[in-house]
């Protein structure tokens, strides 16, 4: 394993069909994801546009549409560089039915293949959410730094 992807999961107290429609409709994408609206052509290869008041519009492309189970799109990692090869990561959502409602998993992958990118983000100060291996490496590396 290498640090190429991020995986997060959440349990939602609502049926998959409802989560699916919030996840994939322009109306709702523009509020839980963007903050100033969105557009989506919900089919593989379809255009996705997410808008933020402060950051402008980010263009992506729909990849997988399998209601109500799987939804994926590709979008730019460096939003200024735009939708070009070498600057895209893939985001895949999986919706699993559960007793409590829906378990929604998101995996964003493809970081290691990026060729563009902003300088490293420096504002995160907690180590939670690190890949296990990266955390282990960091501990080893910091152990070395701490030696006299």
């Amino acid at each position: 394993m290498t640090p190429d992807s991020i995986e997060r999961e959440i349990t939602i107290g609502a049926p998959r069909e409802r989560v699916w429609s919030l996840l994939t409709s322009a109306e709702h994408l523009g509020s839980w994801f963007g903050d100033a609206g969105a557009e989506i052509d919900l089919r593989p290869g379809g255009r996705l546009e997410l808008r933020w008041e402060k950051y402008g519009t980010v263009r992506g492309e729909v990849d997988v549409v399998e209601p109500p189970e799987r939804f994926a799109f590709r979008w730019p990692a460096d939003h200024e560089a735009g939708f070009v090869e070498g600057n895209l990561t893939r985001v895949e959502f999986t919706l699993a039915a559960a007793a409590e409602g829906t378990v929604l998993t998101v995996v964003e992958s493809g970081f290691a293949a990026l060729r563009y990118g902003d300088p490293i983000v420096r504002h995160a100060d907690h180590v939670q959410g690190w890949g296990k291996e990266l955390g282990e490496l960091r501990e080893l590396a910091e152990g070395v730094a701490a030696r006299p």
Binding site: T2, G13, I120
Partner: protein
């Protein structure tokens, strides 16, 4: 909710190879090493180790130091930590988005 910046692609690409990962781990564990000492501990040749060290050096993940006739390499923990922080920031962004979606989905109105 905002879009987020990707981690430094150079660092992540450098880390994405299992042998390079192992080279960096060995350097982090032992403090420093040369292409020769590393090759002795890995199932790859010395020239291959040198290639990997060059990639790690370019990404800023190792520090090169000449000591007499040897070139010694050490891991640079700050760069590894930066890559980790970038991924953490992206993970937090997803947590925030998923929570917003959950609130929408569970809202009875």
């Amino acid at each position: 909710m905002t879009p987020t910046s990707a981690p430094d692609p150079g660092v992540l690409t450098a880390l994405a190879d299992p042998t390079r990962w192992e080279v960096l781990r060995l350097l982090a564990t032992t403090g420093d090493g040369t292409a020769t000492t590393l090759a002795a501990q890995l199932p790859v040749s010395r020239p291959a180790v040198i290639k990997h060290l060059t990639v790690l050096d370019r990404a800023g993940l190792v520090q090169r130091r000449r000591a007499g006739r040897e070139v010694r390499y050490a891991a640079r923990p700050a760069r590894v930590a930066e890559a980790g922080q970038a991924l953490t920031a992206l993970a937090h962004a997803w947590d925030a988005r998923l929570s917003a979606l959950k609130r929408l989905a569970e809202d009875p109105n």
